[in-house]
C-alpha cells in the first residue's frame, strides 16, 4: 500500500499510462492528436487540471461528504478547466484556437475524475501530487507519441518540420478521424506485445 513518491510517479508513465493501459480519456486522444504540438498542448493542459484537482481533492477528502463527492469533484475539476481555458486564451491563443472545444471537454475526461475518485480521495497530499504528475505526464507522452506518428504519416512533418522532403505524398487518412482509431489500435497492439507477461 505505502508506495514511495517515485513509485507513484513512475507508474503513470508505463504501468498505468492512461490511454494505453487504462484505456481512459480517449476523446481527446483521438480528437486532437493531428499534430504533435496539439498533443503536447492538450496533454499539458490536462496535466495541470489533473494535478490541481488531485491536490484539492486530497486536501478536502475528509471534509467532502461521501454522498456528494462526485458533485464536489466535478466542481473542483470544472473550476480548474476554466482556469486553464482562460489562461490559454490569454497567453497561448493560437494553441487555444487549435484545441478549441477539446479544452472545455477536459471536464468530462474520465482520467481526471478517475484519479480524483480512485486515488486522491483515498490518499494524502504527497502521493496525490505524484499520482497527478505521473498520470498527467504519461497522458502527455501518449498524446505526443500518437500526435507525432499521425503527423509524420499524415502530413509528412515532425513538430512542424519537414521529414521526408517535398516528394513524400502524405497519407491524409491518418490525420482524419478513422486514422486516429487505426493509429491508436496499432499502438495498443505494440504496447500489449511488449507488456505481455
Amino acid at each position: 500500500m505505502a508506495k514511495s513518491f517515485t513509485q507513484e510517479f513512475v507508474k503513470g508513465l508505463w504501468e498505468e499510462i492512461p490511454p494505453f493501459r487504462l484505456v481512459l480519456g480517449l476523446c481527446p486522444v483521438l480528437g486532437v492528436t493531428t499534430t504533435m504540438e496539439n498533443g503536447i498542448g492538450m496533454g499539458l493542459a490536462t496535466t495541470f487540471v489533473l494535478l490541481c484537482s488531485n491536490v484539492l481533492v486530497s486536501l478536502l477528502r475528509n471534509i467532502i461528504p461521501s454522498k456528494v463527492r462526485i458533485a464536489c469533484f466535478i466542481i473542483i475539476i470544472a473550476t480548474f478547466v476554466i482556469v486553464v481555458e482562460l489562461l490559454m486564451q490569454a497567453y497561448t491563443y493560437p494553441l487555444f484556437l487549435k484545441l478549441g472545444v477539446f479544452i472545455p471537454l477536459i471536464v468530462v475526461n474520465c482520467v481526471v475524475l478517475g484519479r480524483a475518485e480512485a486515488f486522491a480521495s483515498k490518499n494524502s497530499l504527497l502521493p496525490s501530487i505524484a499520482d497527478g504528475l505521473g498520470i498527467g505526464i504519461g497522458f502527455t507522452l501518449s498524446l505526443a507519441a500518437l500526435g507525432a506518428l499521425r503527423e509524420i504519416l499524415g502530413t509528412g512533418t515532425f513538430y512542424g518540420a519537414m521529414v521526408f522532403g517535398p516528394f513524400f505524398k502524405p497519407f491524409t487518412f491518418m490525420v482524419q478521424a478513422p486514422g486516429a482509431f487505426v493509429c491508436l489500435g496499432l499502438m495498443l497492439c505494440v504496447m500489449n506485445l511488449f507488456g505481455s507477461k
Binding site: 467532502i64 461528504p65 454522498k67 472545444v101
Partner: protein, 196 residues
C-alpha cells in the same frame, strides 16, 4: 439531518469559492484576452476584409456605445476616403457563439466582405466556415440592411454541407450586423469624419 446540512454547506462553499476565483481570473485576464483576439483572430479577418486599405484598420479603431455595450469599429480608407468600417456581430452556432467580422461600405450600404472570428464549432465541419473562404465569400456585395438566409430557409447563401447550424449562425450574425449598422449609421458617419 446533520449529514444533509453538511452536504449543502460543503457544496455551497465550494461553488461560491469556485465562482469567486473564476470571476476574479476572468476580470484579470480580460484585457490580455482582448489583445490576443485582436492579434490572432480579429486582426487577420479585418485585414482580409479591408484588403488594400491605405491605413492600418487595427490602429484606426473607435468605439460606439450601443445600449449598454461598447462596440468596436475598424476603419478602412480607400482612395483617400475613410468610408468603410468593419465590426463584429454574433450568431448562435452549434458549439456556442460564432463571431463574424463584417465589412460595410458606408457609401452604398453594401457588404464588402465577412470573416468568421471566434467560434467553437466542430473541427472539419462547422469550423470550415473559418478555414474555407468559399463559404464566406458568398456574402460579398449583399445589401447590409437585407436579412441574409441560407437557401433552405429561402435565402441566397449555399450552406456548408454537414454544417447547416453553423451556416445559419453566420447568416444570423450577418443579419444582426445589418440591424446594428442601421441603428448606428449616423454615429458611424460622424466618427468616420475624424479619420479623413
Amino acid at each position: 439531518m446533520r449529514e444533509l446540512i453538511k452536504m449543502v454547506i460543503v457544496l455551497t462553499i465550494l461553488s461560491a469559492f469556485s465562482g469567486g476565483l473564476l470571476a476574479g481570473l476572468r476580470i484579470s485576464t480580460a484585457a490580455q484576452i482582448e489583445n490576443q483576439q485582436l492579434k490572432f483572430v480579429k486582426g487577420p479577418a479585418i485585414k482580409a476584409i479591408l484588403e488594400g486599405a491605405a491605413n492600418d484598420p487595427i490602429v484606426d479603431r473607435f468605439k460606439v456605445t450601443d445600449g449598454d455595450i461598447d462596440r468596436s469599429f475598424f476603419v478602412g480608407k480607400f482612395n483617400g476616403k475613410a468610408n468603410t468600417v468593419a465590426f463584429e456581430s454574433f450568431g448562435k452556432g452549434y458549439g456556442g457563439e460564432v463571431g463574424l467580422m463584417v465589412g460595410v461600405d458606408l457609401d452604398n450600404d453594401k457588404i464588402i466582405g465577412v470573416g468568421v472570428t471566434t467560434h467553437s464549432e466542430t473541427p472539419g465541419l462547422g469550423a470550415q466556415a473559418k478555414d474555407d473562404p468559399t463559404f464566406v465569400s458568398q456574402f460579398k456585395g449583399f445589401a447590409i440592411v437585407e436579412p441574409v438566409k441560407v437557401t433552405t430557409d429561402g435565402g441566397k447563401i449555399n450552406a456548408m454541407s454537414g454544417a447547416t447550424i453553423t451556416s445559419r449562425a453566420v447568416c444570423s450574425a450577418a443579419t444582426d450586423a445589418g440591424q446594428i449598422y442601421q441603428k448606428l449609421k449616423p454615429q458611424l458617419a460622424e466618427k468616420l469624419k475624424e479619420f479623413e
